[in-house]
């Protein structure tokens, strides 16, 4: 059964939320879901753009308080 791993990238400027997601995506197994937590408003657009281009799957994206919760499934 695949796991949901939470990546806390709130309040960070370098390497930043998308870099953190790419780092953990490399370590994940195909089928795993990763949940990125980000306070960077750009993440809501940046992450789906990369996910679509590289060929993974967006599971969901919602803003709770000041934090974006973005779920992505590793597809390749």
């Amino acid at each position: 059964m695949s796991e949901v791993k939470v990546i806390d990238a709130c309040n960070t400027f370098c390497p930043g939320p998308l870099m953190e997601l790419i780092t953990y995506m490399k370590q994940a197994q195909i089928g795993d879901t990763l949940e990125l937590l980000s306070t960077d408003q750009g993440s809501a657009a940046d992450v789906p753009e990369w996910v679509e281009k590289v060929g993974h799957q967006m599971v969901g994206s919602e803003k709770i308080g000041d934090v974006w919760h973005i779920k992505v499934r590793k597809a390749k």
Partner: protein
């Protein structure tokens, strides 16, 4: 109180020296012992490798004997740890010696792993090792013109390096009078040319001015060495004549082998800098899994916090400081100009235009580092 520092890089050395001074009385009376275990008897100033790659520094100037950097009260052994037994508060070294501790500091650093990308080792130049930097310089010197590609792995040590090497390549080829015969193309993993938004905003017009092409959302998948073509995970490709890589990194193998953290990065509290589940184990520098730059600068500021806290635990029984994510990075913008990025968890950097003064400050810091690592700056 037995304090054990594992790792003799920037962070470990600053912590050990700071503790030796703060706890000098306790060390004299034997109330405290302070031991460092390192994999090497030499200490390298790693940022200097970028200069070696452009023929601006000789590699022998980047080293000092590790023992010469340490306060005399620090017991120093060149004997890297092989087994961490955290529940027993004990480590075993390569020579099978056992060291018990009350407080452990893990500062083992990171290593590049270009072998994880097919073709990258044999197909590219890199400046992340002494041998690599020398080889890169020779390749640059023999380069007569053509397409130069820069590729960036994730995660990597020194996030500013991709931008710095690009500026330096432009200046190097310009100085040799062949810039018009060289096409430089920069490839970056996310959808802007640097992870820090303000660095990206500053560097983009500079790249445009220098005629540096760039492709974002490019994560290297493989290098076709025979045909000299790089392929991305995003299904794009580029034919090159000379490939410069900033390879992806992992934590040290001993961390993975001891199951202390996935990919060698130890889960660490972002403010206390303690290992998750172990209040007596501190982690810093590249070794942490924190969303903080893997740089000597981060290790330096983390080391100051940890040294204060360990000293206060000895003196009053409790830590007194928290790490706020502070990082200060020089940014070399070519061979005669520089700027800097200073930021923490909550405040982004505010980049100033590059200037010659900051470049000469950086050149001075290249020497001042040896005072810094002794804990004097």
């Amino acid at each position: 109180m037995r304090i054990l520092v594992v790792g003799g890089g920037t962070g470990g050395t600053i912590i050990a020296n700071n503790l030796a001074r703060r706890l000098s009385a306790e060390l004299r009376t034997g109330k405290v012992s302070l031991t460092m275990l390192s994999a090497s008897d030499r200490h390298m100033y790693q940022p200097g490798l970028l200069y070696v790659a452009f023929g601006q520094m000789m590699p022998d100037t980047l080293y000092r004997d590790q023992a010469s950097l340490l306060e005399a009260s620090i017991e120093f052994h060149v004997d890297p740890v092989k087994h961490f037994m955290l529940d027993e508060r004990r480590v075993k070294t390569q020579s099978d010696r056992v060291f018990d501790y009350d407080i452990l500091v893990i500062a083992t650093g990171s290593r590049m792993v270009p072998e994880e990308i097919p073709g990258l080792v044999e197909g590219s130049e890199t400046f992340y090792s002494e041998a690599g930097a020398i080889k890169m310089y020779k390749a640059l010197r023999n380069f007569k013109g053509g397409r130069v590609a820069i590729v960036v792995g994730v995660p990597h040590k020194c996030p500013i390096a991709p931008v710095e090497v690009t500026f330096s390549l432009h200046d190097y080829f310009k100085t040799r009078g062949i810039r018009d015969k060289v096409e430089i193309k920069y490839h970056y993993p996310i959808n802007r040319i640097h992870s820090i938004e303000n660095v990206a905003k500053w560097a983009k017009p500079e790249f445009d001015r220098m005629g540096v092409a760039y492709e974002t959302l490019f994560n290297l998948k493989e290098v076709d060495v025979q045909n000299k073509v790089i392929h991305s995970e995003e299904d794009t490709e580029y034919a090159y004549d000379l490939l410069i890589s900033i390879p992806a990194h992992r934590g040290m193998a001993v961390i993975e082998e001891n199951r202390l953290g996935q990919a060698g990065w130890i889960p660490t509290d972002r403010h206390q800098l303690t290992m998750e589940g172990y209040d007596n184990v501190y982690v810093l520098g590249d070794t942490t899994n924190l969303p903080v730059s893997k740089t000597g600068s981060a290790a330096h500021f983390e080391a100051e916090v940890i040294a204060d806290n360990i000293a206060s635990i000895v003196k009053i029984g409790t830590p007194v400081r928290e790490y706020d994510g502070k990082v200060y990075c020089f940014i070399e913008a070519g061979h005669d100009q520089a700027t800097y990025a200073m930021f923490n968890y909550l405040n982004p950097p505010d980049l100033k235009p590059a200037n010659k003064s900051m470049h000469w400050f950086k050149m001075s810091y290249n020497q001042m580092y040896w005072s810094s690592v002794r804990g004097l700056l």
